[in-house]
């Protein structure tokens, strides 16, 4: 089965307000969106940056995609994870304390979980703790499997790098044949490269 590219987005150094603003554009089911966002009491900037890239990839086909929420998959790829929350948890642990709000945010899987929770997506979800060049081929293989078996009708593959303290993310929204343009090698190369390098949509032809 061939992929189609349904949407593309990127983001850099986002916080909750950035994600909220992008995620609510287009609305439609505002109550649900706000309830979902309320479920995320706190998340790491890397998680919000990744979710913002996803929101931008979703923008053009938002209604179509969110109409099949139970069959929208999320594959996040990051070798760094939620750096800030993880460091805070480590430091707190050394001091013999722990924050019940930071702890969930320090779960590396939150990079994917925040996306699923933020948009109420119930497809297959996971985080590959790999750099983009190693993780993207695996992510594409998984996306193809989910799409071809009908477990998912759409799959987000999002990368995030945050090692320098500035999280940056790139995302492709993939669909089944007929849902968009054929996925090009150029798109894959863009996703598999460092998301921190020239993290603007215009960087990809």
């Amino acid at each position: 089965m061939t992929f189609t590219l349904v949407g593309r987005g990127d983001a850099q150094a986002c916080k909750r307000a950035d994600f909220d603003a992008v995620a609510r554009i287009g609305g439609g089911d505002r109550t649900l969106a706000e309830a979902a966002l309320a479920a995320i009491r706190y998340a790491d900037p890397a998680s919000f940056t990744t979710a913002t890239a996803v929101a931008r990839a979703l923008a053009a086909r938002r209604e179509t995609v969110l109409a099949v929420r139970d069959r929208v998959g999320v594959i996040a790829i990051s070798a760094d994870g939620p750096v800030e929350a993880m460091a805070a948890m480590t430091q707190a642990g050394r001091e013999g304390t722990s924050s019940p709000i930071r702890f969930p945010a320090s779960n590396a899987g939150a990079l994917a979980g925040v996306i699923s929770i933020g948009f109420t997506l119930r497809g297959p979800t996971l985080l590959l703790t790999l750099p983009p060049e190693r993780g993207v081929p695996v992510g594409l293989l998984l996306a193809r499997a989910f799409l071809s078996r009908g477990v998912a009708e759409f799959v987000f593959i999002a990368t995030c790098a945050a090692a320098g303290g500035v999280p940056a993310s790139r995302c492709l929204l993939l669909g089944r044949p007929g849902d968009g343009d054929p996925l090009a090698e150029l798109d894959v190369a863009w996703l598999a490269s460092d998301p921190g390098a020239a993290a603007t949509s215009s960087a990809r032809p």
């Binding site: 460091a87 722990s98 899987g109 996971l126």
Partner: protein
């Protein structure tokens, strides 16, 4: 397949201790304020070894034993897929190393020819490693994959569960009316998955068949599962559809059974939705009262427990279970093992971040 658990690391020995309803939960000295001093450590590696070093040793030793069990001289060109909740990364000095470093080191120690695939989906990590392995085989990207999970007990994670309110103040009693939380453990579990052709080429009869995989997200909260169990239900249904079987075909169900009231309620709701209320099967069991909750390793360890239940025709009793939560409307092993004659077994894990993963195994003919 191989595991390292607080009850030991031999398949036969640990299985007998499960049937005898033993627990690896012991009081562990701690300098911080916790709601419960109980935890389930493995006897090896030594507790005074740094967490990241213990995790590597556990991972390497368990993969090596899994290869031995499969009569393989080494990893060779096999893929290695490892899941963990990264507990060791949160212990001691803040780390700047990439999150896949542990997997790379395990692979290097085993002479792997390929770079490993590392993933983290909290308490579903071990199950998701098996799911990813299945997709690699199905796609023809590999003919053999060693997959599983590893995690170690850390003060930071124990503190976190204590402050979050998910740590039991008594003991871990999954699906008991007195369930009040979980207790942490550690360990590793790895299985060797290969295509039937690859097994036949080396004249090996498989221990069991991985028939179906399924995953979903609760999409409810960062630590709070969906009370209606929709994500768990979807994961189970996807794995059954993938296996091409119906709920009636499942003879044994290894529950996540973390013993937090919320998780147990979610799981019970999902089970009612899939299998119906008061069905005669599957027989439900859970092993976290025996092993503690080994977080990123638990899915792989429980997959092995499911395989052993199928192969041995017995379901071990749920540790600490005396009065079954009425929300659980399926038969559950309590007090003594239950003999079964089941062809299919299912293992479900639920993780923070909403991760739900279900695996369907068939006992080898």
């Amino acid at each position: 397949m191989a595991w390292a658990t607080p009850l030991g690391d031999s398949l036969d020995g640990v299985w007998q201790r499960l049937l005898d309803a033993e627990t690896g939960l012991v009081a562990i000295p701690h300098k911080v304020r916790l709601k419960n001093s109980l935890g389930a450590p493995c006897a090896w590696p030594p507790a005074d070894q740094p967490a990241d070093s213990r995790m590597l040793d556990l991972g390497v030793a368990t993969v090596r034993r899994a290869l031995d069990d499969a009569r393989l001289p080494g990893l060779g060109a096999a893929e290695l897929v490892i899941g963990t909740s990264l507990g060791a990364f949160l212990e001691g000095e803040p780390q700047s190393a990439p999150l896949h470093r542990y997997a790379d080191l395990i692979a290097a120690a085993l002479g792997a020819q390929r770079q490993p695939i590392a993933l983290s989906t909290a308490c579903s990590s071990g199950s998701d490693a098996i799911l990813v392995a299945a997709e690699l085989l199905r796609a023809g990207a590999a003919e053999r994959v060693v997959c599983g999970g590893v995690d170690v007990l850390t003060t930071t994670k124990r503190l976190a569960h204590s402050s979050l309110g998910t740590m039991s103040t008594t003991t871990l009693r999954a699906f008991d009316v007195r369930h009040d939380g979980t207790l942490l453990g550690e360990g590793a579990g790895f299985i060797v998955l290969e295509t039937l052709d690859a097994a036949a080429a080396r004249a090996r009869t498989p221990l069991a068949l991985l028939r179906g995989v399924g995953s979903a997200n609760d999409a409810a909260g960062m630590t709070t599962p969906d009370a209606a169990g929709l994500g768990a239900r979807l994961a189970i249904e996807r794995s059954l559809a993938d296996a091409g079987i119906t709920p009636d075909d499942v003879g044994v169900f290894n529950a996540h059974g973390s013993a937090t009231p919320l998780n147990d309620a979610t799981e019970a709701a999902a089970l009612r939705a899939v299998f119906g209320a008061d069905a005669g099967t599957p027989i439900v069991f859970a092993t976290k009262g025996n092993f503690g909750h080994s977080l990123g390793a638990t899915g792989a360890i429980e997959a092995i427990a499911t395989l052993l239940a199928l192969r041995r025709g017995q379901v071990p009793p749920v540790y600490g279970l005396e009065r079954v939560d009425p929300a659980l409307r399926l038969p559950v092993a309590m007090g003594a093992p239950i003999a079964i004659c089941a062809r299919y077994g299912l293992s479900l894990t639920l993780g923070f971040g909403g991760f739900d993963t279900s695996l369907v195994f068939e006992v080898a003919p």
